[in-house]
């Protein structure tokens, strides 16, 4: 520890005013505060005393992201080896997963950090740890077959237009990771949706398998068919409710396992990082929006839209809804700040996700755009919540 401190002390002069790398000061600052609490003391009011600064806050989100990350690596490798006919032992699968996922994460971090440093040096603000979260969330929402240059493009758009032009972390109004993903989704739909993108198939003995149709549960349930058979359709395709909950099925890298998201959500709620109101609101929204269709399906049988009659709990565990509600919707910057508006915000995210899955044939999954859409309305919800509070206040007491 002492040698580390000496290292920072001996290099500080190069990065402080007048030094050789003065412009790179934000970078030095970011690395140093990763290890030590900064020595800066506020001289004027207000003095806020709290051990939870932005850095610890964001680090806890990273810790909460570890379960979906590790499971995502395992699952990606598992699906890939399963589809290519390779052995599915733990070691082989994990190594394969690492080989697929690690480059995506490295590109995301490297490109994003480059933009972040560039903006921080020129605009003279410090590099925020918010980026560590964005740079990890973004790859976890992508399909494993994504080309690396698209990863770079997406994270660039997310960091620049989602965050940096507004002045950096805490000043944006959309979730940067989702902004980047939505940009990729609309720019390269072929690489972001459909059947073929969710599993990496590698050739056995250099014989590449051309296409592998690894349908996701969302695609299976969107096929036209009579509604009363949708659950048996899912089960026939291998998607039972427990399997969807554990998450061992093709999908985006980190978003398949509801169980891992639940672990992360528990940690986030327990440490007070994420608002439990948003998470519960989201779950309620999903169940509430899916429930009427389920009941109608039970009583009257068929409907022209199969997903309409799906058991509401399927909506919770399949696709990215669990991941989105846990990690994306609870973003404290783009979400609302008032308690009542948090409930409403979460509820609408859940409800809109289900609505899009059912009624919008263009998108199989709705959580990404539902969160972005509600991000737009979170300042408005806060505004009206505050107005409501002010109206209820007794004047001049």
């Amino acid at each position: 520890m002492r040698s580390l401190k000496d290292f920072f002390e001996s290099h500080r002069e190069h990065f402080s005013e007048g030094g050789r790398f003065e412009k790179l000061h934000p970078f030095f600052d970011a690395v140093e505060t990763l290890f030590f609490i900064p020595g800066i003391v506020t001289k004027t009011e207000p003095h806020v005393r709290d051990s939870l600064d932005l850095k610890r806050f964001m680090s806890l989100v990273i810790v909460a992201l570890i379960p979906p990350l590790f499971f995502g690596i395992y699952n990606t490798g598992y699906q890939s080896n399963l589809a290519s006919g390779l052995p599915v032992t733990f070691m082989a699968v994990s190594l394969k997963g690492l080989r697929i996922v690690l480059p995506i994460i490295i590109v995301s971090y490297a490109v994003g950090l480059a933009w972040e440093t560039l903006f921080a040096s020129i605009r003279k603000h410090s590099i925020s740890e918010g980026f560590l979260v964005t740079g990890l969330l973004f790859p976890l929402t992508l399909p494993p077959t994504i080309p690396l240059w698209q990863v770079a493009l997406g994270i660039s758009f997310g960091v620049i237009f989602g965050k940096e032009i507004f002045g950096g972390t805490g000043r944006n109004f959309l979730n940067p990771a989702l902004t980047g993903r939505a940009f990729l989704f609309f720019s390269y739909p072929m690489k972001m949706s459909g059947d073929a993108v969710w599993t990496v198939v590698s050739g056995v003995n250099n014989q590449a398998v051309d296409t592998f149709s690894g349908a996701t549960p969302l695609v299976v349930s969107a096929v036209q068919g009579s509604a009363d058979v949708i659950e048996s359709l899912l089960v026939n395709a291998g998607f039972t409710l427990p399997k969807l909950f554990y998450g061992l099925y093709p999908g985006s890298i980190g978003g398949t396992s509801a169980l891992m998201c639940l672990l992360g959500a528990l940690l986030l709620i327990f440490t007070g990082i994420a608002s439990y109101r948003i998470i519960f609101g989201g779950i309620l929204g999903v169940l509430f929006a899916a429930f009427p269709g389920y009941i109608i399906g039970l009583i009257y049988g068929g409907s022209s839209i199969p997903m309409f009659a799906l058991n509401p709990f399927y909506h919770l565990v399949m696709g990215g809804s669990a991941f989105g509600i846990t990690y994306m919707a609870t973003d404290p910057v783009s979400g609302p700040g008032m308690n009542i508006s948090r409930w409403i915000y979460g509820f609408f995210i859940g409800a809109l996700t289900v609505m899009i899955r059912i009624f919008n044939p263009a998108f199989p999954e709705g959580i990404m755009l539902a969160i972005l859409f509600m991000n737009l309305f979170s300042p408005l919800l806060d505004h009206f919540a505050i107005q409501f509070r002010l109206k209820k206040r007794v004047p001049n007491v």
Binding site: R171, T179, L352, P361, A362, L372, L376, F377, L380, D382
Partner: protein, 202 residues
């Protein structure tokens, strides 16, 4: 009835007149700085749209459309080439009346809206709604619903924008992008999020 609901949802969310067709941008960008004025202008635009769209429907179908003058004994006359200028005249007249009413009864709103109140007359969203109404062959009831819900969609967009700009009061935007530059980028991002509904066929 189902038809009317689908027109409402379509013009508020799927084909929002501002975020999907980018009509009425000028006052949207200029008046969205304060929530109160944004709501005021939104209401004014909604009001004008819900009056002028059906009114223009009547004008078009009883005066301008091919064969519309049959009731006066001229079945062969086609005046539809006049629709732009006549629609604008109708809109301008309604806006003038509205301006006098607001000036008389809501002076603070009148002061806040300033030059943009008379400019509603040339707000492209208003003329756009009338022209879309003709193009899509709406009947009278549909045109009433369409006008009101387009206005509501426009109002939703401008108050959302006002909320976002309020939140961005502490944002540190690069010099070259201040005000209009950043507003255009925000509008683009908003349009991207509104694509949530694109593709829904009602």
């Amino acid at each position: 009835m189902e038809n009317l609901v689908s027109i409402f949802l379509d013009s508020v969310f799927v084909g929002n007149i501002l975020l999907a067709y980018f009509l009425g941008m000028c006052s949207f960008l200029a008046i969205s700085r304060k929530m109160e004025t944004a709501i005021g202008l939104g209401l004014a635009v909604t009001f004008v749209l819900s009056i002028t769209t059906p009114l223009n429907w009547l004008v078009y179908h009883y005066l301008l459309a091919p064969g519309a003058l049959a009731w006066a004994g001229f079945p062969g006359i086609d005046l539809s080439f006049l629709k732009f200028i006549i629609f604008i005249a109708v809109i301008a007249a309604i806006v003038q009346a509205l301006e006098m009413v607001i000036d008389r009864y809501l002076p603070p709103l009148y002061m806040a809206l300033g030059v943009f109140l008379p400019l509603i007359a040339v707000n492209c969203a208003i003329l756009g709604a009338s022209l879309f109404m003709v193009e899509r062959n709406y009947n009278f009831i549909e045109s009433v619903v369409y006008g009101a819900s387009s206005g509501f969609g426009w109002m939703l967009a401008i108050i959302t924008m006002a909320g976002i700009r309020k939140k961005l009061r502490y944002a540190d935007v690069p010099k070259g992008l201040e005000n209009f530059g950043i507003s255009m980028i925000i509008t683009g991002l908003m349009a991207m999020a509104f694509m949530l509904f694109s593709g829904i066929t009602l």
